[in-house]
């Protein structure tokens, strides 16, 4: 599991990992991001309370309903958008 530092470099708030299907560490959950190919990220559970992150989830609701096709939360936006949004979250 490869952790990468966030763009702000302050905290390990965002990490990419290849361990699809494995449980996330405490306080984190898996998110699959991308338009055609999906990349797996681990994000803090606290993101779920952030309006900008909820807006990303609304996009996925429009596309998938609540049935996320990857198992983990699936966000069908460009990876850049996702990184842009999450890098602003603490």
């Amino acid at each position: 599991m490869a952790f990468v530092r966030s763009l702000l470099g302050a905290k390990k708030i965002l990490s990419r990992s290849t361990g699809a299907g494995s449980a996330a560490p405490k306080g984190f959950l898996a998110v699959y991001v991308g338009e055609s190919q999906k990349k797996r990220y681990l994000v803090p559970v606290s993101y779920l309370n952030q309006p900008s992150f909820q807006a990303l989830l609304s996009k996925s609701e429009e596309e998938f309903g609540f049935d996320h096709p990857m198992g983990g939360l699936t966000i069908p936006c460009p990876e850049d958008t996702f990184i842009n949004v999450t890098s602003r979250l603490q």
Binding site: A23, K26, L29, L48, N49, Q54
Partner: protein, 370 residues
């Protein structure tokens, strides 16, 4: 932004007699006594407004024949808002008693009539509110009702909630599904709709990898959903996503329940009645095994927890983290869930329970986000 607004049970007087509890988003009654044994109830909210409702009523099932005693259990899984499921919880049992009083007994016809009249009356409410609150036309609910009376269990179902009987077998328990479900993702429900609407090529449409009636709803029968029953409600100012492009004359959804009648045997241990929120995470056999192998106290909450653990696993996170998620966004992880376990005794538990009928209602406004 989360406003707790607790109103438990149908009234304070009632909840003093039959205390029920709330823990965060969970409402529960760990163990109680109905006419034929014990029961356990639990619900958890995921939507920003709780759309599930449930009730258990035990005692006389008619107004005029005191020998007709039994237990009524209802699970109502609303969609598009809580109004239809609440309406059912307020109305279906009194209607059942009214129709049962006419023939002085419980029958399949009595139960079906209670469903039909509940739907009819809800549509009257929609008509009344149309000028001021047109979105009521897109509110609906599944309705699962069980009646245990006279050695029989009647299971009436409109929608996709489910009732499963646990029947003891050598060294274990076997799941016997008692309910017939109406969801477009079941072959039988699709065949029924296609045969009822042979000239409509878009009666069922695959959307988001799931079959939906007219591309909008998964259940093929329901209470409410006036916009799919009468064309007069399928127009502005109803939200565009509910409006169908073409006119229809025949109702697309029906409120008719599928009814099964089962004679109880001494091997029949319990019945689990639950909304689809539970069954999307637990199989029938997994659920009956849990009930068979666990203490009765708090069994409904145990089933709820088993389902939430599965939900957390699917979303690749810890169960402890899932429990912290707020209503609304929580719907991405699981649905509102209602589960009632009714244990069966072949004979009424104690005759003096007849004197004090039991009435418990669950799911009335829990949390609401504003």
């Amino acid at each position: 932004m989360v406003k707790p607004c607790w109103r438990i049970g149908a009234g304070m007087e009632r909840s003093k007699i039959n205390p029920t509890k709330v823990d965060g988003l969970t409402w529960y009654k760990d163990l109680g006594l109905h006419t034929f044994g014990e029961f356990s109830m639990a619900m958890i909210q995921a939507n920003s407004v709780m759309e599930d409702q449930c009730q258990i009523e035990s005692g006389p099932l008619t107004f005029n024949n005191p020998t007709v005693q039994g237990t009524f259990v209802g699970v109502y899984d609303g969609h598009g808002g809580p109004e239809a499921s609440r309406f059912i919880a307020d109305n279906i049992f009194p209607k059942l008693k009214k129709f049962a009083s006419e023939g002085r007994e419980i029958s399949e016809q009595v139960i079906s009539k209670a469903f039909a009249e509940t739907d009819k009356d809800f549509l009257k409410t929609v008509t009344k509110q149309w000028p001021t609150n047109p979105q009521m036309a897109s509110v609906g609910s599944c309705c699962l009702a069980g009646v245990i009376c006279n050695g029989l269990v009647y299971i009436a179902n409109t929608g996709d909630s489910r009732a499963v009987l646990g029947r003891s077998e050598r060294g274990g328990v076997r799941a016997v599904q008692l309910s017939v479900e109406h969801n477009a993702n079941l072959e039988s429900a699709r065949q029924e709709l296609w045969s009822l609407h042979p000239n409509d090529p878009t009666i069922l449409v695959m959307k988001h990898r799931l079959w939906r009636v007219k591309g909008v709803i998964q259940v093929t029968r329901s209470i409410g959903d006036a916009y799919l029953k009468r064309a007069e409600f399928n127009r502005e100012p109803l939200l565009p996503k509910f409006r169908l492009p073409e006119h229809f004359t025949k109702p697309i959804l029906s409120a008719d329940p599928s009814v099964t009648i089962t004679r109880l045997s001494p091997q029949d241990e319990f019945i689990i009645l639950a909304s689809d929120g539970l069954w999307e995470h637990l199989s029938n056999q997994e659920a009956v095994d849990i009930v068979h192998n666990s203490p009765r106290q708090g069994i409904a909450r145990r089933l709820l927890k088993a389902a939430l653990k599965e939900a957390a696993k699917k979303r690749e996170m810890r169960y402890s983290d899932l429990t912290e998620i707020h209503p609304g966004v929580r719907r991405h992880f699981h649905d509102d869930i209602t589960v009632i376990v009714v244990y069966l005794n072949p004979h009424p538990v104690k005759t003096n329970s007849w004197a004090s009928p039991l009435s418990i209602r669950g799911g009335y406004p829990m949390h609401s986000t504003s």
